[in-house]
Amino acid sequence: MSGRGPGPADDEALLAELRAAALRYDPVPQALTDASRAALTWRTVDAELAALSYDSALDDAVLAGVRGGKGPRALVFETDLVTVAVEVHDAGDERRLLGQLAPPQAATVEVRHAGGAATVRADEAGRFAATGVVPGPVRLRIGLPGGAVLATEATLL
């Protein structure tokens, strides 16, 4: 070998070794690949997407204990006209959701989660509850009185 330092070919060879090491010591888990493939079925069809506009897990004030410390996780989803607020309560291995629509209105709420889907009703005050929610991706598909349908951004609980 010459006295010169490593060149691009040597760098590529070293990177190839590193890539092989990463595959050996820190591969992508199969369960993650499976879950990522399944994401296609969560695409919103025939509904307006309500984006996640607030997640209490990211709220600094909550984390600092100002607003009463570790309560249930609170999420808010929004379209231009409707807001969906959800509290996530632990129920053993599962989750219970308490929701509120604003403006208040009755609606059908289909809750889709890793364990299946169930439809519940929001009352005239816009309140609804769902039990037996399996942790993982969750989305609400809400049918409003006027016929509009909105779907919350799939969120991992």
């Binding site: 330092g5 490593p6 691009p8 760098d11 070293l14 990177l15 070794e17 590193l18 890539r19 092989a20 090491a21 990463a22 595959l23 050996r24 010591y25 820190d26 992508v28 888990p29 369960a31 993650l32 690949t33 879950a35 990522s36 493939r37 994401a39 296609l40 969560w42 695409r43 919103t44 997407l49 897990a57 990211l58 984390l63 991706p137 951004e153 799939a154 969120t155 991992l156």
Partner: protein, 189 residues
Amino acid sequence: MQDTATLVSAALAGDQRAWDTLVERHTGLLWAIARSYRLTAADAADAVQTTWLRCVEHLGRLRDADRLGPWLATTARRECLRSLQRAGRQVLSDDETLFDLPDAAQPPPDTGLLRRERARLLWDAVEGLPQRCRRLLRVLMADPAPAYEAVSASLDMPIGSIGPTRARCLERLRQLAEVRAAADLGLER
């Protein structure tokens, strides 16, 4: 091999196999990004899964297929930062002492280390590098090898600096690996 634009169109029409191919091509990088930010395996999996859930909604708005890789990388990076925030961990600023290592010992002659020992040595040595090098190399170690546009988005690093930084970091890795290999040999006497 199908190009990204074809795969994206097919996935938008509900073609599961097209989507699976996109997942296979990009999940390696997304996992590497999450691990480069030192997320736990569970948090890394959540960040990557969330990225794909966002992608499935965003796919129809993608201006051109070449943007998919960088878009995924940017989204993954954002989810990683949120994950760290939720876990109450600070994201340390880049280590300014990027190249601050002791002088390498005189490298020993090639001892023909077993391939597995060398893989472990290299893997551990990457972990021992300063943060900026460790992150860059961990992302570059993704399989399949990522395009520099995606690497740039992963680390919020200018594309033009990737090549030179890669070269310097690999050289530091060689030095650190040689120091450790020599130390290992010394311990066995």
